[in-house]
Symmetry: C2
DNA sequence: ACTTGACCTAAAGTTAGGTTTAGGTGTTAC
DNA sequence: GTAACACCTAAACCTAACTTTAGGTCAAGT
C-alpha cells in the first residue's frame, strides 16, 4: 500500500498528475481510506506504468480512459483490447521510424559541422558533392532526400 | 521557385503552419514578389525539412528560431551549431530508447491478449508465472519490471 | 495547544503549436 | 467585367495535458 506521494516518487510523476489521471477516470479501482485519502496498491501502480506506455505510444487521456473502462467490463472486451494493443504497437514502430529518419538529417549535420569547424568555415563542406562524401554520410544524405 | 501552396503539398504541411513558422522567424531569408507573396526556393524547402527534424528531436520553435539566427551570423557560430546537433542526436537516441521501453510493455500485452482471446478469458494468462512464459515474453516482462 | 507536513477539492491558469476568422489584394478563365 | 482562386494580414480562438491556487482536513511531534 502506497500514498500518492510515494507513488509519485516511484514512478517519477508529479502528485498533481496522478490526481489528474484519477479525476479523468484512468484509475477506476483506486481506493480511499476513511478520511478520503487515496491508497494505492501494486495493481494501481502497474496501471499507472501502463498509462505511461500508452501515452508514449500516442494515445490520448480520453482513449486511455476508454481502455480502462473496457478492462472493467471483463471478458466481453478482450478482443477490442487486444486490437488496441496491436494498433499501438504499429504506432510506436512508426514513431521510431520517424525518429530514425530525423536522425539521418541530424547525423548528416553533425558530420557537416564537424568538417566546417575543422576548416574554420563552411565554404568547402557546403560544396562537397555526394560522391565525394564518406560512404556513411552518403547513406545519410540519400535517406534525407528520398 | 515555389508558392506556399506548392511547398505545403511537397512537405505535407498546412499553409497556415508555414506562415506561422515564417511569422515566428524560422525562415529568415524567405523572399517576396512585388505584391508581397512569398516565393520559396530550394534552400527554403531544405530549411523547412530541417525544421521538421529539429522539431521531432524535441526542439521548440523558439530554439529553432535561435538556431536560424545563429546560421545568419555565419562562421562565428559554427561551434555552437555543431554542439546543438550533437545534443539533438542524443535527444533523439533517448526518445528512441523510451519508445522501445514502451514497446516492451505493449508487446507483452499483445501476447497477453492473444492468449486471453484464445482461452476466451483472462483467468489462465493472468496467473502465468514468469518461468512458464515463452522465452521472448520473459525478456519483455523483465524489461518492463526493471 | 500548536505547528508541521501530507493529504484533499474545485476551479482557474498555463503552455506550445498551431488553426480559424474576417477582411482584403491580385491574376487568370470565361 | 465578373467570378473563382491563390495569396495576404492581424487577431482571436483552440486543444491537450497538466499545474497552480485557495481554502480546508487530519495525524504526529514538541
Amino acid at each position: 500500500m502506497y500514498s500518492i506521494g510515494e507513488v509519485a516518487k516511484i514512478l517519477n510523476l508529479s502528485i498533481s498528475t496522478i490526481r489528474y489521471y484519477d479525476k479523468e477516470g484512468l484509475l477506476l479501482d483506486l481506493e480511499r481510506d476513511n478520511s478520503g485519502i487515496r491508497v494505492f496498491n501494486d495493481k494501481n501502480i502497474e496501471a499507472l506504468r501502463l498509462i505511461e506506455c500508452l501515452k508514449k505510444s500516442g494515445l490520448q487521456i480520453k482513449d486511455i480512459k476508454e481502455f480502462m473502462y473496457w478492462c472493467s467490463l471483463g471478458i466481453s472486451t478482450i478482443s477490442k483490447r487486444k486490437e488496441m494493443f496491436f494498433n499501438q504497437k504499429e504506432n510506436i514502430l512508426n514513431k521510431i521510424k520517424e525518429l530514425e529518419k530525423a536522425l539521418n538529417m541530424i547525423e548528416y549535420k553533425c558530420w557537416y559541422y564537424t568538417e566546417a569547424e575543422n576548416d574554420g568555415n563552411e565554404l568547402r563542406v557546403k560544396n562537397i558533392t555526394i560522391k565525394d562524401m564518406p560512404k556513411k554520410i552518403q547513406e545519410l544524405y540519400k535517406n534525407i532526400h528520398d
